[in-house]
């Protein structure tokens, strides 16, 4: 049976970040869903079961860690949730811990290293059951 590509949902208010991360992750073999705001996040959440959620922190509508905390507490997302932000690592670590989510990835790593980190977290694509 053919394996399915693993799916990643990215939430960020920057269309450029979304498009570039989609291109980088797609090239690495992942399916990518993007949400530019909370409405799109909710639409994807209802229709898909991503293997990983990457959430920006500072967005116009809300802080991503607050949104992530609600999703996790309500068990609305079963996949690992990681903050993806340019904030300093100390602050990201604290926010991820306070939100009781799985961790964080610093945007400061750049797209290539972020893809590598994603691979460490959920494995290479094509391994989904």
């Amino acid at each position: 049976m053919a394996s399915r590509r693993k799916q990643i949902l990215i939430v960020d208010d920057s269309a450029l970040v979304l498009d570039m991360m989609r291109a980088a992750l797609d090239a690495a073999g992942y399916d990518v869903l993007v949400a530019n705001d909370l409405t799109q996040l909710e639409e994807h959440r209802q229709r898909h079961r991503p293997d990983l959620v990457l959430m920006d922190v500072q967005m116009p509508e809300a802080f991503g860690d607050d949104v992530a905390m609600v999703l996790r507490a309500a068990r609305e997302v079963e996949a690992p949730i990681y903050l993806l932000s340019t904030l300093d690592e100390g602050e990201l670590r604290r926010r991820a811990a306070d939100a009781e989510i799985d961790g964080f990835i610093s945007k400061q790593m750049g797209a290539e290293a972020i893809v590598s980190r994603v691979r460490e977290i959920i494995g290479a694509s094509g391994e989904r059951g």
């Binding site: 970040v17 991360m21 610093s106 750049g110």
Partner: protein, 102 residues
């Protein structure tokens, strides 16, 4: 592969960052109380530059963002100077258009 992606998105990044810096500079010159809006634009520039691996640009944008958010803020002329330096650095990412002969 990443280099190809970066090259593809660089012009869009430069155009977007120029627009954000122009807006921020105008707000400062107009004397608007817009620290949070300027900080948000700088934060976006920092995030986009980071993703693209433009670490120096990202660092400059982050530093200016921190200065804007700091209690007591930053002197307008110092901020304009910082934004101008950032603008120059971003402009340097794209080769200047060659002069048209004649």
């Amino acid at each position: 592969m990443i280099e190809d992606i970066r090259a593809k998105f660089l012009p869009r990044f430069v155009a977007s960052a120029r627009e954000r810096l122009e807006r921020a500079s105008k707000l400062i010159r107009d004397g608007a109380d817009a620290a949070s809006s300027i900080a948000a634009d700088l934060h976006t520039i920092a995030g986009e530059a980071s993703i693209m691996g433009l670490h120096e640009v990202a660092s400059m944008a982050r530093e200016s963002e921190r200065a804007v958010r700091r209690v007591g803020g930053i002197d307008d002329s110092d901020l304009l100077s910082a934004l101008f330096k950032l603008w120059r650095r971003i402009d340097a990412l794209v080769p200047p258009k060659s002069a048209t002969p004649g």
